[in-house]
Amino acid sequence: MNKLLKILVFTFGWSLSVTAQICYIQLQGYVSDSHDNRPMADVSISISEIGNELWTNAQGKFSFTNLCPGTYHLTIQHVGCPTKRMALELSADTLVKINIEHHENMLHEVDVHDHHEYAMNEHKLGLNAIDNNTQKSLAATLTSAPGVNIISNGADIGIPMVHGLTGNRMTIINNGVLHSGQQWGIDHSPEIDINSAGNLTVVSGAAAIRYPGGHMGGIVLLSPLDIPYDPHLHGKVRSTIESNGRGGTFNVQLFKGLKNLQWKVGTTLKQQGDRQTPEYYLKNTGTKQAHANAEVRKQWGNRVEWQGYFNFFSANFGILRGSHIGNLTDLVSAFQRQIPFYTDSLYSNAIQAPKQSVQHHLIKSTLKKQFNSSTIEWNIAGQRNQRREFDVRRSGRSDIPALSLLQSSLQSDLIFKGNKCIELGYQLLGKNNTNIPETGILPLLPNFVAYSNGIYINYSKRLSKIKLDFGGRYDYTHRNVSMLTNSIPREVVNFNNRFHHISFIGRSTITLTPKWKILGETSFKQRPPEINELYAFGLHQGVSGIEEGNADLNQESGFKSTLQIRGRSGKNLHIDIRGFTHFLNGYIYLQPQTEYRLTIRGAFPVYTYEQCNAKLLGADFILKYSLGQYWDFETNWSYVHGTNLSDQLPLNFMPPLNGQHRIKYEIPEWKNWRNLKVEFEHTYTAKQWNWDTSLDFIAPPDDYNLFNLYLSSTFNKWKLKPQLRIGIENMSNTIYRDYLNRQRYFADALGRNYTLSWIQNF
């Protein structure tokens, strides 16, 4: 069997046997669970060309007879599995073996595979998770993964936080490329549309030694959709409408998978107006977005593959009007308001200042060549990121950005993978960040050019029950910085930064029994201070104050140890427990100064970057239980406790204790409906007790409970088999504020939201 084709066909394996007949062709099949090869009974198999539906028997077998030669499309549906589609060219009697991924969200991999893509200390969200969160931001989608929180500014702007670390300490890898935007701002959402991805993986160790970036905490990997083999043009439409914000999201994708050439194009449009708390509208919290992506893969023989990838992201984000403040007096009076200033009694979908307008382009080329037991891969990628932020200004200047940055970046990788146990790589990163002189305001950040050269090695060794991984990485970062002085007359001053930084990792995965595994991991990583930490100067609305960099900062070093145990008891109970300690030497944080800065606009809080030694202690706990064929229960809890060891004080902006519980009931069919699923979800977020009063304006908000309900199914009566999903989020219309959402200083979080989604494969 063609090895490459096997990859393309993904979880389907197929084989043919030949005896020529015309319109007497028999198609026989066998369906099994991809995890343990058990036969799967009661799986619905339908052929759209003949409109016929069959069910597999107890042995997992099915059979269609009297078919004419030609191409047929099979739809495979089963409770607990994502709907699968495959194309077959029939010219003779054929036997098909179909593997389906049963209960894809369960932790079956313990006794199945152990390849890198779904290892311990990682959490993967598949296509189902993306289908169900089409309208959400990347960060909001990832919060269903244990240990992942979101640091946000309103409903659409959010950055994922992994094990308490985010911003410059969080790396996003989009299709192998280090996402390069303005990560320094906690109000800067990553410029990525989740609908462009096929799956999302959160790696919480510093394990990802092969990726450049400052990920002290974790990384998020986005992988493109696998394009299944099918000689015809196919596609998918995902659309969602929401009551809160009265908006909608529409995504369409077209793809075609030939034997040596696969391509895909997709686009997403999204519009939302003012969101609503249970009691009032949040003025100017809408968004308008348009994204596009394209991918081409071409193979020459079995050994050479080229991938081209293009991604475009464009978004306008409104920022709550009442959160845009002048000086300290404004800030204090905004905090004292029950309802924010400028709250309107009418809904509006206009986006005015304050707002952000962001465009991001990514273009990438990958060439892979396979040798007998090794692979060489060469990537080159370019990105262009334009960010313009608009404040409320006088005399029509609200249309002139108050911050306007253009960043171009370049990445080139050369990777050698030898015989599964060794991997070597070289990476070159370049970045040019320039202020566009249109703002009429002194820039917050200087202009700079940064280069980084990195090499890494990964080595794995498998003993009988132990798998050992070791990795090391060295990077040299060089930056040339050009900034304006704060004093008059203004002058241009230049700085040169040079940093050598290293990372190490050691990990052992021990298979205790076929059902239980234990992982121990220790890692060391250094991160040079970023440009904003060194040189920022000016009023930053994202922190409601004047932010000042500190040119004397040293590198930050982290030492993280993780212990994880994962396994299952019987057929139905799955447990995953993970604990970690993370010591950070020279942890860089924003320290408010005791004296306010007096200006003609009044007093402003001043923040400067300082360093301390910090300790993060955290744990994730996941338990899943299946009761019979129809019921699934899941609970997961996460907590991170941060301490500033230098001053024996709490570290602020760490996620409070939070838990999610899900109850799912799914039946294979009811009348014309297939895979009818009811999900009830409860999330609990505790009050953050561990905080330092000198680092925050107001106390953390109280704990809260949210309840969500979803009903989804596939309507089988129509040939197109549309999948529908109805959701009610924050069912009880609870009034709450979230500690990690900056909007909590000014307004309540979102109230009840009804969603209706329609997913159509064609």
Partner: protein, 181 residues
């Protein structure tokens, strides 16, 4: 053949780069207010209260020059605003006047002096570019002068000069320690 296809992409990506960053451009900060002048007139005599901060946020401390005022007197006053960081200096007062309904000055004193508005926007609400100051008994008083952008002028007591419910963003907030004798 594959490599020749990729070459233009590589070259394009590399050509975006140079090793030196672009020099930042000193922005023309035309929106900046550096100078607030309060001109007071009483019985044919003029007095002035001036606040000037040329380098914006941070840097050097502001220069404040204040005339001594007489107790228990009434002054008619006006405010002029300048941006003196640009050459020639630009007067900002017309910008405020042109957007009168989006701006309002608020005056407070920690002593017995009081302020009243002597101007109105098109909606009949006060602006504060013209005002009347009545000084109290001899004392050292601090006058706080605030300019709010996009306040809610119809909120309770805002049009009578109470800043509490005004909202909006602060464009100016200065404290002047005035000697009244």
């Amino acid at each position: 053949m594959k490599k020749t296809k990729l070459l233009p992409i590589s070259l394009l990506a590399i050509s975006l780069f140079s090793c030196e960053p672009n020099d930042p451009v000193d922005p023309n900060q035309e929106e900046l207010i550096t100078t607030v002048n309060l001109d007071l007139e009483s019985n044919g005599l003029t007095y002035s209260l001036n606040y000037q901060d040329l380098d914006g946020d941070g840097g050097n401390a502001p220069v404040i020059t204040l005339d001594t005022l007489a107790a228990n007197s009434t002054y008619s006053g006006s405010i002029t605003l300048f941006n003196e960081s640009v050459t020639p200096a630009e007067e900002i007062t017309p910008e405020i006047f042109d957007e009168a309904s989006d701006h309002q000055f608020f005056f407070t004193s920690n002593g017995t002096s009081s302020f009243t508005y002597s101007d109105q926007d098109n909606d009949g609400n006060p602006i504060g570019l013209s005002f009347e100051l009545t000084t109290g008994n001899a004392a050292n008083e601090t006058f706080t002068i605030t300019l709010r952008h996009e306040p809610d002028k119809s909120a309770t007591d805002v049009s009578s000069g109470d800043i509490t419910n005004a909202g909006g963003e602060t464009d100016i907030e200065i404290a002047l320690s005035v000697i009244i004798e």
